[in-house]
Symmetry: C2
Subunit: 461 residues, 2 copies
């Protein structure tokens, strides 16, 4: 008895969509499941997170960022249609309308199962001059190539980065690597608004120390252009920053215009809402994952939007398993993120102070300084660890780390502890790897946990 042929349609050919397609293909043969995937861009399955390192020159070739080409997907019996944009979802009719971006031709494709993986779109404020030559986003490989083309043609060496989140600070590093004088113009009081301001201040100081001009509390009002029409400066209320090239790194929003038009459920951050199996809530035959969905924050119990390749890959894996007749769930996130600016490492997981306040949690906070290795071991580098613990219960709520080598991935200790809902007291007994080249005898995370225990006790008495 052969199973009836079903059709899976995937909207979006990047991490979440193609992971789902690939996993479904592993579980179901082409005789059981036809898979059609639509991608409006020129590339499939690429690492957007790698673009800053390609622009900076650490990754020499664009194609190194492509995990799997369209041809490789097609060789595995996935009908991936490039440069073809889905322009309408019709859940009632179980079909999608697509447009060939080369010819303009449109057609309807019926589905039995649908995966929405439309990703995120960069925030691009409608400012005068924003579309001038020399102003670049860095969302796609095409964006990256356009920026590299500009850099190769530009003789001036002044770059302005708008935004000081992950993309902004990574692009600042990239442009420093390319020999530019870099100014970062940042709306917030400190860079890295994913950290508390006191930790963001450490990032500010370190980046200033690297010769990057850091401008905080500055809203860009317009992009000024020269007589040739190219960008010449970035203007805020108070000042102008001369620029031969401008990079926008302001963040992203879920790309859910199709989902919204089809009345699919969206959350307060504009992302699709799913159940634990990554099915769109209320729909048995539609799944969604990656940068277009909201995810449950296991610490606060609230939905968040986090655009990160590692989540997108997990979502795709789970969607593919469920679509393919297997079983998997995505329980949620704890909000871990790591980044670096040159030698500075930045990491966070769990809640910031303002997240904890917003979630109705009372907490104690501690900050400690320690070193990445035994103090006497060569290369021991300072790191600052901030830890939040719930009042009374002592449950770990969040950790932020700013330091040098060995700082970023230490946050994984806290990420696992958050997932396990450990208290800071339980954490003080953690059996972490110790040897002089790798850690002081008390790992910095344990030093912070010990201080947090004292703070919780002091507040409780």
């Amino acid at each position: 008895m052969s199973a009836a042929l079903e059709r899976l349609v995937v909207v979006g050919g990047d991490a979440a969509g193609m992971s789902a397609a690939s996993q479904a293909r592993r579980l179901k043969s082409p005789e059981e499941l036809e898979i059609v995937a639509f991608e409006r861009g020129h590339f499939s399955s690429f690492s957007a997170c790698g673009i800053p390192y390609w622009v900076g020159g650490d990754v020499p070739e664009r194609d190194q960022l492509i995990a799997r080409t369209p041809e490789e997907h097609r060789a595995r019996a996935i009908d991936l249609r490039m440069r073809t944009e889905v322009v309408e979802l019709d859940p009632a009719g179980r079909r999608v309308r697509s447009r060939d971006l080369e010819t303009g031709a449109e057609e309807w494709t019926a589905y039995d199962k649908l995966v929405i993986a439309t990703g995120a779109r960069p925030v691009r404020p409608q400012l005068p001059g924003i579309d001038a030559p020399g102003v670049h986003g860095v969302q796609t490989l095409d964006d990256g190539q356009a920026l590299l083309d500009t850099l190769s043609r530009t003789t001036g060496r002044r770059a302005v980065v708008v935004g000081a989140g992950y993309i902004g600070v990574e692009m600042a590093e990239a442009l420093v690597s390319r020999g530019y004088e870099v100014t970062v113009v940042n709306r917030g009081a400190q860079p890295m608004s994913t950290l508390d301001p006191d930790m963001g201040r450490l990032v500010h100081e370190a980046m200033s120390g690297m010769g990057i001009a850091m401008v905080n509390d500055a809203e860009v009002t317009k992009i000024l252009t020269g007589e040739d029409g190219r960008v010449r400066a970035v203007a805020t209320e108070d000042a102008e920053y001369p620029a031969d090239v401008v990079v926008l790194g302001i963040g992203v929003r879920p790309e859910t215009s199709l989902a919204r038009a089809a009345s699919l459920p969206l959350g307060e951050h504009g992302g699709l809402l799913t159940d634990l199996a990554m099915r769109v809530r209320g729909y048995d035959d539609i799944w969604a994952g990656g940068d277009c969905v909201e995810v449950l924050d296991l610490v606060s119990g609230r939905e968040r939007h986090i655009a990160l390749g590692t989540h997108a890959n997990k979502h795709g894996q789970i969607i593919g398993a469920n679509v393919g007749g297997d079983y998997g769930t995505f329980p949620g996130v704890v909000g871990t993120a790591v980044s670096k600016v040159c030698s500075l490492e930045i990491a966070r997981t769990g809640l910031r102070e303002k997240d904890a306040h917003a979630a109705g949690l009372r907490f104690e906070k501690v900050t400690i300084e320690s070193t990445s290795r035994a103090g006497y071991y060569p290369g021991a580098a300072l790191m600052t660890v901030k830890m939040l613990a719930e009042r009374r219960t002592g449950r770990l709520l969040g950790v932020q780390i700013v330091g040098r080598e060995g700082a970023a991935k230490r946050v994984d200790i806290a990420a696992v502890a958050l997932t396990a809902r450990m208290t800071v007291e339980q954490m003080t007994a953690l059996d972490l790897g110790y040897a002089p080249p790798f850690s002081p005898v008390w790992d910095p995370v344990l030093v912070a946990a010990r201080k947090a225990v004292s703070a919780v006790r002091a507040a409780g008495s």
Copy 2:
């Protein structure tokens, strides 16, 4: 009302003993608690783990390994008596007998509370020639100085290290750093018997690749000496290995001869047995910690002996809290250890295959290769991760990692997961730090967890 003056006696002036004394002093003033500590050696509170790096030259000065000098302890009202050996414990009489090693004078000191922190002693087989000049242990700072003196006087460049555990491989690195031709003579089938043999094999291959001569399955039968009485070779049943210097790194045993003579409870590994508050079982006024005790392995549920500074410091902290009228417990360990040989990083936590067998656990095992960073990011280095998961339940049982930069401390992820008794399926959803300079989009530990999930499911069907 002033509290009655009590006396705390501490036997052993290193990590566990002096941490206990210091923590007790923080909690109790000299008017409440007198603290007397006995140390038979020349140094207090030093980092034995740092000796290989001092010998190797990474740490230039011996005194960098001393966390706190006797004078510093005394300045905090701890009566630390150096070069004074406790030679008898009298629990019934609540007193200890000590001997001044300079004068030979003996005296009894009464205690209200006693801390036993006598540490471990290196295994030193009674072989012909073992005491010849040029044969060195590396347990104490005196040992390290003696070895350095030998190295500075020796013109030959051939070194033999006996033993291929942590001390052995770290001393091999140290001697390579000093420009020696190093041979490691190892009784086991592979180096690093704290790993499974398949993972030990990777260490063998890497060390061989560094130019270290690795001899496995070789029992040393004697140390051969020249006409000058100095060591000239190490002999096994089958061969002789010329040596200008020999370093013994065979491991350690709990130093519990005093405890044994006083009929205190010892476990199957010869270490003192304590309760969760680190009190010696059956004794309300005696605590013990550090290298002289056995600890509960939270994964197997059995007692183990693990000589490691990080545990000793935790024990001391907890003993000091309890002695000082506060409260703390040491729940146990999961068996985490990290080390390195030149650029090779080695890590383990939880159970090896033979530990799991011995504990009555059935398990599945998987091994994967991945990279420390995104594959396209410069410096991405291969690492091998082995994972054991319990059959049926899928509970994580152990992880071993061998690789280059970024391999060792990744084991902390598994250490926390073991503590939280996570299943490998739960681990696949862990929200670990991801950015191209720090991890592939699937962290190597997650890749191993995914494969372990498949193995558990395949075995269950």
